[in-house]
Amino acid sequence: MSAMQTISIRNDLHEIRRVGQMIEAFVASHGLPSSLGRDFALASDELLTNVISHGYDDEQTHAIHLQIRCDAAVLVLRLEDEGRAYNPLSAPTPDLTAELLDRSVGGLGIYLVRQLMDQVEYGREANKNILVLTKQIPRKKGNKTDGMH
């Protein structure tokens, strides 16, 4: 099994929902667990919100390209934007143990992405930020070879 779908959006926060819907539809149409679709939709929302809110030095319209693909083992989402160079993985980990009044929400979005995904990779190619999110597809129940000794 291998399949791929792409979507391009403008740098407008209202566009993010379309990406989530596409991801969830893709996941459903390939018989994958809906929780996987929700995790990717949330992760993409966090990353796109960051790029659209802080990624550009001008007020122009910019395209952001996304590609989702799955094979037997993993689901992979690739995001490509032409914003200024920014590696979200360099954001400090938020202090999750701080008391309420000392808590800050800075960095929570990217922290969530890292928690939801198995792997997040960043690269800068041809003046574009490339993020690749990967997560194992949970095996179907009833697979007897599934980790049993």
Binding site: L13, H14, I16, R17, R38, L42, D45, E46, T49, S53, P94, L96, T97, A98, E99, L100, L101, R103, V105, L108, G109, Y111, L112, Q115, L116
Partner: protein, 111 residues
């Protein structure tokens, strides 16, 4: 994103319906901050129909919780669905915010 408001004795129950993300979180922010500003001190946020929350929503919840704490009030979240609960758990919000499983519990807890 819809916000409903209901009074129960001195408590105010805010019902959230829909998705709370970077587009819609502002609606909730304005509602919660206005209530606190107007002197409400016992707030219950009913999340039974909140289908989605991103960090943009968490930011609003955290800000409102801090504001309420500073004025010695109380903000309780109730009836989180599994997805919203997962986000609260992953970010440690379950331990810094007051969360009740039922609306009744949240109303009786509000002192």
């Amino acid at each position: 994103m819809e916000c409903t408001e209901e009074k129960y004795n001195d408590r105010t129950i805010i019902g959230l319906r829909g998705r709370m993300d970077s587009v819609t979180a502002r609606t909730v922010e304005e509602k919660l901050l206005a209530l606190i500003e107007n002197g409400e001190r016992h707030l219950v946020v009913d999340c039974a129909e909140l289908t989605y929350v991103s960090s943009a929503g968490l930011r609003v919840f955290l800000m409102a919780a801090k504001r309420v704490t500073q004025v010695k009030g109380q903000l309780i979240f109730t009836t989180l669905n599994d997805e919203v609960r997962q986000v609260f758990d992953l970010t440690g919000f379950s331990s810094i915010l007051q969360v009740c499983s039922s609306r009744e519990e949240a109303i009786t807890q509000a002192a």
